[in-house]
């Protein structure tokens, strides 16, 4: 405690204790230190053993030179400055805009009015219509715009849903471990219980129904009011992609125990193996087969413009769709989102274009397709290169890349490294990641930031960074680290 503590209203011991408890390693100590290194290098410092910081700690594609999709950004330039639409010939003949860019911009402006005006609280109606049509096409089942809520990225949607569900300190939410720490951090802030269930590393980090049942029963026996289960598919940090059987098993269990399913599906287009099965689609299939049994299953599925080949994190856009929710509960959700007025309207426009991109035959289609495929195959190539490097590294094990933007290898570190970590007051994975950053400029997140089984160690890395040089520098560091502590 500093000596000035009692002179102020607020000090570390009297602010909201639930904020203090929250942990968010993705932007934690190592991320902060990596930014300091970046500033140092930018100022011309030669003191560091590397000349570039490689931010593999966060899925931030455009920070790592992923180019935005041309169609999206051309449309945004027009909705930001509509007088350009009066110069159609300049746009078409001198700036290379296609006619469908102009049409889309006109349509969006008609729908939202000005992008500088607040939209309706749950999003512009016309954009929600487009989202509904996208879901219908994806799943082969109807979707209702009134059940769709546009949000400032999926994070804001998760925040809304948890605010509604968490009614008291006894409320529990089943959260996969490892997980994206937004969930545990938000539950800390809301003073509700995280009920962890372990994913099965031996099956490519798939869901293990027995583990879920066990965690649920234990929590209920301890007096926790378990209300909901979170599924992240494709997985973050694990990179898994769930087979349809796993999705069905979760729905079956949720129906039986009356749990709200929160399906975090922001990586739905980042799938390298098999096919993405949406919870909404599978639920509707099951309802068709047995309407009575699944009629009241409550599902919230989330999507985002931040991931996939879109990668527009900075624009903060996303949506969630509700199925089976009580209308009175939906009214409260509407009120809650209205307090923060509306999601950023430019982000809403990007949601519209993500769900309704140029189609074959449209003037912008060819370039769109080429850019999309280029990003996809680049990600796949780098995932494979990284995975192959991990396979060669002593004491590192990593499953085949399946989906999302991450690999989450297991690392077995020598006892001496574990001791050295203890001396620094760190877990061994933190120690490893910290040394990696200091030696190479590569910033990853220690597995403890996501949760992991006791006596296992991991780290999460994105495979977004361009080139493969940094992969080599990880391998070199790893060898030296193992030699030092063997």
């Amino acid at each position: 405690m500093s000596s000035t503590t009692t002179l102020r209203s607020l000090n570390i011991n009297n602010i909201n204790p639930h904020i203090k408890e929250a942990k968010y390693a993705v932007r934690g100590e190592l991320a902060v230190r990596s930014e300091e290194y970046r500033v140092k290098l930018a100022k011309g410092s030669k003191d560091l053993p590397f000349d570039k910081v490689i931010s593999c700690n966060i899925g931030n594609p455009q920070q790592l030179d992923q180019k935005p999709i041309t169609f999206f950004r051309q449309v945004l330039s027009l909705v930001e400055y509509p007088p350009l639409l009066e110069k159609e010939d300049v746009l078409l003949n001198q700036l290379g805009y296609k006619s469908d860019v102009i049409e889309r911009a006109r349509w969006l402006l008609k729908t939202v009015g000005s992008v500088g005006a607040y939209s309706a609280s749950a999003g512009a109606p016309g954009i929600k219509d487009s989202v509904a049509r996208f879901i219908e096409e994806r799943d082969g089942h109807p979707a209702d715009p009134k059940d769709i809520y546009l949000s400032a990225g999926a994070s804001s949607g998760v925040n809304t849903l948890l605010h509604i569900i968490c009614a008291s300190p006894k409320t529990g939410i089943l959260v996969p471990i490892p997980q994206y720490p937004l969930y545990t951090a938000s539950l800390s802030v809301l003073n509700a219980k995280c009920v962890p269930y372990y994913l099965d590393e031996s099956k490519g980090w798939g869901t293990d129904l027995e583990a879920i049942k066990g965690a649920y029963k234990k929590a209920v026996a301890e007096g926790t009011d378990v209300r909901s289960i979170v599924i992240i598919n494709p997985g973050n940090p694990t990179g898994s992609s769930l087979p349809v059987e796993d999705v069905k098993a979760v729905i079956e269990f949720a129906a039986q125990e009356k749990l709200v399913i929160m399906a975090d599906e922001v990586y739905q287009t980042n799938v390298f193996m098999g096919k993405f099965s949406s919870f909404k689609g599978v639920l509707r299939d099951m309802q068709k087969e047995d309407p009575e049994k699944y009629k009241y299953v409550e599902l919230a599925s989330l999507h985002s413009i931040s991931k996939g080949m879109v990668g527009e994190c900075g624009h903060r856009g996303g949506y969630f769709e509700l199925c089976g929710f009580d209308p009175e509960v939906q009214e409260q959700i509407y009120k809650f989102v209205s307090i923060s007025l509306c999601a950023p309207v430019i982000g809403q426009c990007l949601v519209e274009m993500m769900v309704n991109p140029p189609k074959p035959g449209h003037p912008s289609y060819e370039l769109y397709k080429q850019e999309w495929d280029g990003i996809f195959s680049g990600l796949q190539k780098r995932a494979t290169a990284l995975w192959e490097a991990f396979k060669e590294m002593e004491g590192v094990e990593c499953g085949t890349p399946q989906g999302s933007m991450y690999l989450f290898p297991t690392i077995s570190l020598p006892p001496k490294a574990v001791e050295a970590a203890k001396k620094e007051g760190r877990t061994a994975d933190e120690f490893y990641a910290s040394r990696l950053l200091d030696a190479t400029g590569v910033c990853v997140v220690p597995g403890s930031g996501f949760g992991q089984k006791e006596n296992t160690l991991h780290f999460r890395t994105t495979f977004l960074a361009p080139g493969t040089e940094w992969v080599g520098s990880i391998a070199k560091f790893h060898k030296e680290f193992m030699d030092e502590f063997r």
Copy 2:
């Protein structure tokens, strides 16, 4: 309760009770009904006694045809689609962009990288530097970028600050009544206590130190841990603009009782009478005179791109600056904002341009100045027209327009109207506003949505809507209403 309640996990009786308690009238029942009318009219309905909905319920300038500032939007078109910067001659010679537009876009892109990438959690460093320079120039005192946090509008800043301050159900925050309902709604959600203090309608809705002291003492005596005082200046919903003496008195009181000052200054350029005195500037002046006494005063001042002549609500941008906060508390604020990753980057760019607009001599200055002045005088003209209409209306009293975007007249309604309201289960001001909407299409917010002294009735209206026809329709309605219930 519906018959399906027990079949689901969530129902109105088991969700978060603090969300249920929250009230947010600005987008409440009347706002929802007005949107239904708008849809009906758009579909060609002739059933309604008006042909246009006039949304005076919310400060949403661009929904009401306020034109965005050209410089801002031209720059945004370029940062959204940077390849345009390769066609400088087309921009300059055919599209009418000035050279400072191009320079600013280049600088912003250098600062943020891509607007589609997450920025640092508290905002892009270069933009925070610009905000600090703006504050220095406004107040004549230094500002430190590390104390500035970019946010998704001021609402998100208020949400962050209240999350930190509210430690338990005993935490109390002094909130002016009438107030913008974001404060009471957020305190409900956080399960903390609103400690209301009444503004003085007889002195143009200024702060009344005796009322503040009285509210504070009463709350403390009841066991409330009062931590902070909210001031909205210029006022919302009241339209007041505080003289420097009132600002000083509040700081003096906050210093004495160790209260965090939350200064909501989003209307700082919407001032028609006198001069805006920022809390930061006045605090630094007082600290210069008596450093010991005011050294540890904690102040958070909030600003936004949504109001003023900028009016870019849909872009969700703003900032708050902290003075005198404990560094350990600031670390927790950083962590909290990092959980939602970052404020929309396009909104951050608008913050930069708001605080650093074209200066005299710059190529874009003349148009910028002309647009700014045009919006300002338009607002002033409409405020005056509305105020003059109110003066003529029976039983309506309204102070001279001083600032912000609102008037908040008192209405005295006949006993028969109060009875009729009771029969509908409404307060008399709700009844009046509901009848006004149904008769004219003009949507205002009843005073009870903001809080008002017992046995007084008000409504809040913006003066943003173009034209003055709607003012006439309010007057006509009012006369008929009074005749009906006299």
